[in-house]
Subunit: 489 residues, 2 copies
């Protein structure tokens, strides 16, 4: 392995792409939302390129949009992440599988169980993207009239994490004896009943699935708000964030690593992976042209409303093919001046018309690297060297072409420079990311596992684990040991 | 196809088998609870034998057992069904995939979405086994102190079914236009917002996934209580039941089909599939010997407590290798006399010792067909001809041997007799079971779809659908049409 700091790459996917215009791009698969074959080809290409993980974005609702935008949106449907990633686990063998799951609208027992199951099915490749679900429409699909408040969501998320990781630790790694001779299947001393009772959650346990292959699936977190950063610092092992440029990236990197250190964690064990749309072509100009073409495929009716929001004024009154009026000519606004200023700056720096600007804001307005393999590799190395990133959460402008350009042009360039692996060295996602296997809080010696060793120190001689441990107790009933088919369901 | 009434066969699976002693049986895979390879080989063998479906049993807790039983139980862990079946969907192409999901401890939006996703991933092979979760331990893993009452569970289940099926109907089958030229992806007129507000559930919709391939995944139901039978009659398309013999099977069959008819349904569209453990060998005596061996592998410590429950008295006081005391000699009991009487009858008819009886009750005491391919095929035909069954929910005594005996000995015999398919005729589970594709209540003409046609009658000229329909409305906000990576998670 190269002695250079290594880049990590995850692919942040929506089936048709994150960009609103992508389904109209030549060669795209507009039916990828419910056509598994396309997604299989994407993940296999990413695995061949040695990506760390395939990351499935998710929503718990059809987003609230005006009909004009809705009818043009390929984001209206998608596969559900657990079912999708479980299916994809069978056509891949190394790449990590990150699913988004909500702490606000789901139950920790279900979440713990599904991720543990995915981790077993994939031989240790699962990751949990903890989200608190920012989209207010979701609440209405789960019995509520109003969205749960931001601070409440983050408070519950923190407790939810404790419960889920506690459930994952229900069984010691060596709990299963399976001695056919003596008839002992499992050692009851190596099963822990959580008995959690907190402010928001009450969960008894134990989980009814063996400890995940990775100990715990990798924890991913995305929030950039104050409570979001703190949650990331305390819990996340990979952070998916959206700084607008390298300076913002550097600040965020330092902030989250600093918070992690303050929380008593090793900052090396939290990887900061800014999201970036990557558009690679053979020349910078060609890449820029492709981007303009892509943005032009966002229908003007929905694009202009996105621009209007960013400007804080109705942009449909401007000449689509003219340039943006100057700041003095724009009507006054109560909306964010930072947002307006960045629109104006962008229009100026790239010389965009109102229509092009609208396409940008209606399509994808986040951090983007648009250029050649060399120019983008330079940019990525700059971020790496500036401690602004440990790698990137890559989004593709359009599929499959945009993905193929990354895997066939950019990745070989990164490999040539010695900053990205040419082969997977381990088999689990933790190993790809250089993360230790978490200790089992109930059955392992914390000092022992700090350096990521896999061996279990069993209970008995470990004070802290011993104190925390409560044994699974018989509850006096033998009812459930009867076998009847009805009880099996 | 033969003109004889056709048998349907589904496999009711726990990874290691349903029988408590099975993990100790020679050749078994005691680690199948988290070793996918074994389950892949099982489902592939079942598909080669043209089984209708692979049915995954489930629990939402580690069952409450005394430590003596717990430590001997391979049921303590299992894969989670959605993740498991999604993975298995990729190594099979025809066999149905039935997952158990609880209406008591889950949310209809999640359930609707996961089954729709599984149905898309598997090209129309999903089935939902609706359960209300009978195991009281589960409640404690979902924030409750007490188990939800039986009648409340069934009331919620009925409403839950209405919501889930309503969410599956969110999109007309032809809602997706995907016209790259005009930029129209979906027709908003063909999206329905459910706006359900009932006693137990409030769910807005629409679901964020296209209508399942099968319209709705097949509905399976297992309850045999009064409300369980009624729920089955109103909703189920396949009923998994546990009659103790052919007479009980006939009565249950007539009762559920009668209730379905009274509820306005076509009784042909509800298949009654009694559960039976099937043990096939080359001679009846060999099969019986295998069963005795299997029962003997249930450890006496846990077996005897099962027998004690069935007898309503402590059976550990009897001589394990003697015969059961006569009814007069047994202490009086407040427990079920029916249960005691059936134990006594069994001991007599098979001449079992106390130890053998305990193994039976500790292992699997439900309906079993133990014999040769011919004797079991005879028995199955008897049930079919007596209108006691439309097929069977098969459980295997031990794996893989017990499964191989069924697929290699019994199935060819059934095929030779012309009562079981030699090839799949359709591609979806509905087609295997001879069930129609449900009409979309919001977008299709009910009369049209009654005979199972797949074509959609679009809205506009259909009065009933039109009346029920409420269009997705814009809610005035264009916020969500902005593209920012944070909103994607």
């Amino acid at each position: 392995m190269s002695s250079k700091k290594q880049l990590h790459l995850t692919a942040f996917m929506r089936p048709v792409s994150l960009h609103t215009g992508a389904w109209r791009y030549p060669g795209s698969y507009p039916d990828a939302n419910f056509n598994l074959k396309h997604l299989m080809s994407f993940i296999q290409a990413l695995e061949a390129a040695k990506f760390d993980a395939f990351f499935m974005a998710d929503h718990l609702a059809v987003l609230n949009m005006p009909v004009e935008a809705l009818k043009r949106s390929h984001t209206v449907t998608s596969f559900e992440p657990f079912t999708l990633l479980s299916a994809l686990s069978q056509v891949t063998s190394r790449i990590g599988l990150a699913a988004t799951a909500s702490t606000t609208y789901d139950e920790p027992y279900h979440i713990a169980r599904r991720f543990a199951s995915l981790d077993h099915l994939s031989d240790g490749r699962a990751a949990w993207n903890i989200v608190t679900t920012g989209n207010p429409e979701s609440s209405k699909n789960f019995g509520l009239d109003e969205h749960v408040q931001h601070s409440e969501r983050y408070k519950r998320a923190r407790e939810f994490y404790d419960v889920v990781t506690g459930l994952w630790d229900s069984f010691a790694d060596d709990a299963f004896v399976r001695d056919a001779e003596t008839g002992v299947y499992v050692d009851p001393e190596k099963i822990h009943t959580l008995n959690h009772k907190g402010d928001d959650l009450k969960v008894k346990g134990p989980l009814n699935i063996a400890r995940p292959v990775q100990g715990w699936p990798v924890i991913v977190q995305a929030g950039q708000s104050e409570p979001g950063r703190q949650l990331a610092a305390e819990t996340a092992e990979a952070v998916f964030c959206s700084p607008k440029d390298i300076d913002a990236g550097q600040a965020l990197y330092a902030d989250i690593k600093g918070r992690a250190k303050a929380a008593g964690r090793n900052p090396e064990h939290i990887k900061i992976l800014p999201a970036a749309m990557i558009l690679v072509a053979d020349t910078v100009e060609e890449a820029q042209q492709k981007r303009l073409k892509l943005d032009s495929l966002v229908h003007y009716d929905s694009a202009i409303s996105s621009l209007s929001i960013s400007l804080g004024t109705d942009a449909s009154k401007f000449d689509p093919d003219g340039s943006l009026p100057s700041e003095d000519e724009l009507p006054a606004t109560n909306a964010s001046h930072t947002s307006r200023a960045s629109v104006i700056a962008l229009a100026k720096s790239e010389g965009l018309t109102v229509r092009q600007l609208a396409g940008r804001y209606g399509g994808y307005a986040g951090l983007a690297f648009v250029g050649t393999a060399e120019s983008i590799a330079d940019e990525m190395e700059r971020w790496l060297d500036a401690d602004a990133a440990d790698g990137f959460t890559v989004t593709f402008p359009f599929l499959p072409e945009g993905l193929e350009a990354v895997t066939q042009k950019l990745v070989p360039e990164l490999q040539r420079r010695g900053v990205f692996r040419t082969e997977y060295e381990g088999s689990t996602l933790r190993e790809h990311l250089g993360l230790p296997r978490p200790v089992n809080r109930f059955f392992e010696n914390a000092e022992h596992a700090q350096n990521g060793e896999l061996k279990t120190v069993t209970n008995g001689n470990v004070k802290s684990a011993n104190n925390a441990k409560r044994k699974l107790k018989s509850e006096g009933s033998i009812q459930e040991s009867r076998r009847s088919s009805r009880r099996r369901v």
